[in-house]
Assembly symmetry: C2
Homo-oligomer: 200 residues x 2
């Protein structure tokens, strides 16, 4: 391994960095050398941030998004509407929040139903979602899982579970991305876009 020639503190840092996803050993070596060149202040700040992220961040007790409090800023915001947008993970939540189109609450499943990986509905925050529907008098559930096989299966499962409760269940639209060129869109997406066409 490349880093074996370095002094131990450097090879140790390279080792730890290369455990992160998408960071190979060469990349980790480059990063370690850059960190060495950066100020001591930078290393201190990064070290602190690493500790703080593990000690201060937890899941919201209600919607299971990432928060530094017991209840997140979305759940505790009285002005948010009685809709819940259901997402797979916290990054999807942030992406939707950034779109500025949704002013309701969220619920993070922390995964999707995936029998091949041994993940069933009981492994996701689904019971907790059902529990919230009545308690928060929710009137619509928007399912924003990814358009993957697992995401679709999970959306279908949730819809079958929630519709009988008399709650409106919707799925975010799939189709041609804005600014996308029809010529270059994959045929699955194009087919979906034609099937889901709407009057103008």
């Amino acid at each position: 391994m490349m880093h074996q020639g370095f002094p131990e503190p450097i090879s140790n840092l390279i080792n730890l960095l290369s455990q992160l996803p998408g960071i190979g050993e060469k990349n980790a070596t480059r990063l370690a050398i850059q960190i060495l060149k950066n100020s001591t202040e930078y290393s201190r700040s990064l070290a602190n941030a690493l500790i703080e992220v593990k000690t201060k961040v937890n899941l919201c007790n209600n919607c299971f998004c990432l928060t530094a409090d017991n209840i997140c800023k979305f759940c505790s915001n009285e002005e948010r509407s009685n809709m819940i947008c259901v997402v797979e993970d916290p990054i999807a939540l942030i992406a939707i929040e950034k779109s500025n189109e949704f002013k309701g609450k969220y619920h993070v499943l922390h995964g999707t139903i995936s029998p091949i990986d041994g993940i069933g509905p009981e492994d996701l925050k689904i019971n907790e979602l059902i529990g919230r529907i009545e308690k928060e008098s929710i009137n619509e559930i928007i399912i924003a899982t990814n358009p993957s096989v697992e995401g679709e299966v999970t959306a279908l499962y949730l819809s079958k579970l929630i519709k009988p409760l008399g709650i409106k269940v919707t799925r975010i639209a799939h189709g041609i991305p804005m600014g996308g060129d029809i010529e270059y869109i994959d045929e699955l997406t194009l087919g979906k876009a034609i099937k889901d066409r709407r009057p103008i």
Copy 2:
């Protein structure tokens, strides 16, 4: 910016990670989330490694490679021959050491002569190299700067400076990489390989 929706400890970590070279904001977000998923032990180890690398690693007083001691393991090894391999930076040193072909000492210039960036010979560890030649009774200097314009200029400069001292100065060979396919090698390298051909 994407990370503004995250709790402060996470967005802080994303901010710091995205200051590293080649780590964009999306990548930094992915890394921060992974760090959050990893064990607390991992964060602690990485935080320690960051501090240690800045407090324990310094440059060798003699050859200016990275070391945790005053004098590095290469300079203090009596069995190393009286040759010095001159490199631009510590990563090049490790790469050459890994080749297992060189059993002499090293000297790290920490850069190359580059008038366009305002870097002259006096900004590199060149005086220190000259100082070592007599002191360590060096009999050959191998110049292993990169085959870039700056690397070549630096090699030429060093050669003109050192040859008058009666010391053998050599340059590492450039040509077709082992296992390389002549069909796909750039013409500059191929030209160099033909010019530098040697009897077999």
